[in-house]
Symmetry: C2
Subunit: 360 residues, 2 copies
């Protein structure tokens, strides 16, 4: 068996050490004689696994005690509906910042439930930057302000946390949660589909300030009600137990890497060297404003897009997988989440350089 | 490592051969150098895994071509809302048969969206039987008729498929799907949370007749819209990829057991010998009407409930796990799904007999 370097945007690479542990424990967790996925979610053993995962996440992000952590089913797409359903209360509108495809999807779904006010957009420059604080035309009557701190497809990241006064700030951190330190107290709610920096697809983490619970609209499906999830420790119904367990293994692994602070240093180094290589090259280019470059998703184009196919074929052969850009934008994209090791980035740069030299 | 016999009602036992394969493939699927849970759901490799799982399920249940198979997130609880949201159309009411806790939950959630008419109930005898066809006061104006063919908690099963004329029949097969042959064409829709007879928690299979798609109410979250799921091969958003893969391994395994026909013979034998043992004993009892006894979930009580704790402790020591009845009913329950081998039932009967002899 040889493991490749996997630059997939999601479902994405997981730490090899986590997969090794999961493999070893698959048939027999902790001498119990059964797999975690065969355990009742109400058993003492499973509850201990679930609680440890939550506590480790709380430790990693220093989540204040007035925030609930929910382990929900579905990904960001389900949240796009849950957010207005749960947070509108008696308000009629919500503010959204549009910085690319994921914000746009959130906006589209929320528009089915309320008056969405797009308070800033970077569409004018093909979503290649993030609006600044002074660009935001915030509405004091909004139920909340929603934004996407890191756009997975465009590779655009906010370099600041929007200041929204008394209006709760809601953020889709699917592709950058746990990649660098974060002041959770600045948010009303944070959510993240697991399949990028947390674990397998099918799990979504919601971190929500307690005072925002309890105002769900009457048509909210019970399985989508944050208060019900919070009141039942995310076990109103059977949660995705195995994904939750794997998320816990990832959190444990992250603690071993020095926590978020430790991994952030590595992430900085990975992203810096890749952007530096791209910038010095006249063969490759990245279109994003320098201060808004994502450290997780690095899109790049080849000067001559006729070479795209050859680039990808060579990359596959070199064990560098899933570098094709999203079908909507083309080009390449290297997603370099926490679990993608620095050596993968080194190998990618070496390959890019070799390819450029052979094709210039 | 030694594997125990796991009688958990769900999440439940999985075939050891499936877990062995999953463990072996955890770090490297098919020589690709990555785990299935690290694959893009849009990659050729993952799509082939997903399609094979669907095809195997179609083969196993002989699903007619005018039915769509959806691999959705969440379990039965999410379906309890999705069903009225998707199937009411311009109707105002739906018929529900109440045979226990799971029907009751379905009724409670549906009541939030429509006028639920309980067309038959076995509450008069503590849910110890299933109403007969002539008990059903069906309404021709109902959008659909919902029932629970197998009540996991009460261990009550229908011994017939309700005849509902032109009104679509909707059934929660979470705890008995794939346990015996089934004429899918009699149903408008079948659904089943995976964590009993299919795979890990967090996946729900929906089998729905095509003409029932497309009438979702406007407030339906997009992630809950059957038509959207059907039109996108259950990949409108990232599906729970790893659970889907594991379900596929279970389907493969089931084919190796002779398919549903083959496993049904074993299931018959397992249930028969357990009920036979209970019936000849004056130490144990099962309260369910004989023709409605579930072949998947066998609840039983001890003559003297003061012995319950000792029974469970001894069972644990003997490697017979999760025999405690649901907290709402007490006593014991042995869930003997497809993946619970016949030897497990033999070992259980031997233990029950030994315990009865020592405590009579």
């Amino acid at each position: 068996m040889s493991r490749v370097y996997n630059f997939c945007a999601g479902p994405a690479a997981l730490p090899t050490a986590v997969l090794e542990k999961a493999s070893a424990e698959m048939l027999d967790w902790n001498g119990m004689g059964l797999s975690v996925m065969e355990m009742s979610h109400r058993s003492d053993e499973y509850v201990s696994i679930a609680q440890k995962a939550e506590q480790d996440l709380r430790d990693l992000l220093h989540i204040p005690s007035n925030y609930k952590v929910l382990f929900m089913q579905g990904g960001a797409t389900a949240q796009f509906a849950m957010i207005p359903l749960n947070l509108l209360g008696d308000k009629k509108s919500a503010d959204y910042i549009n910085t690319g495809q994921w914000s746009a999807k959130a906006i589209k779904e929320a528009s089915r439930y309320c008056d969405v006010k797009v308070v800033a957009s970077s569409e004018d420059k093909n979503f290649s930057y993030a609006p600044t604080q002074s660009d935001l035309n915030l509405n004091p009557d909004a139920a909340y302000v929603h934004y996407t701190p890191n756009e997975t497809i465009g590779g655009v990241a906010f370099d600041y946390i929007p200041e929204t006064g008394d209006v709760p700030l809601v953020a889709d951190f699917s592709s950058s949660i746990l990649s660098e330190e974060l002041d959770v107290s600045k948010f009303g709610m944070i959510y993240a589909g697991a399949q990028k920096n947390i674990g397998p697809a099918g799990l979504c983490i919601v971190i929500i300030r307690e005072d925002l619970l309890g105002d769900a609209r009457t048509e909210t499906p019970t399985s989508m009600n944050y208060k019900v999830a919070a009141d039942n420790d995310s076990m109103y119904n059977t949660p995705p137990t195995y994904s939750w367990y794997l998320a816990g293994l990832v959190f444990e692994w992250l603690k071993q890497q020095g926590g978020v602070k430790g991994i952030a240093v590595i992430n900085d180094r990975k992203a810096s060297k890749l952007y530096k290589y791209i910038d010095q090259s006249d063969f490759y280019a990245n279109p994003v404003a320098v201060n808004n470059r994502s450290k997780m998703n690095v899109p790049f184009t080849l000067k001559n897009s006729d070479l795209d196919k050859a680039f990808l074929q060579g990359a596959d052969k070199a064990g560098l997988l899933n570098l094709k850009g999203h079908r909507s934008v083309g080009g390449m994209r290297a997603s370099i989440y926490n679990a993608v090791p620095e050596e993968a980035v080194d190998a990618l740069i070496a390959y890019m350089d070799e390819f450029a030299n052979s094709n210039s």
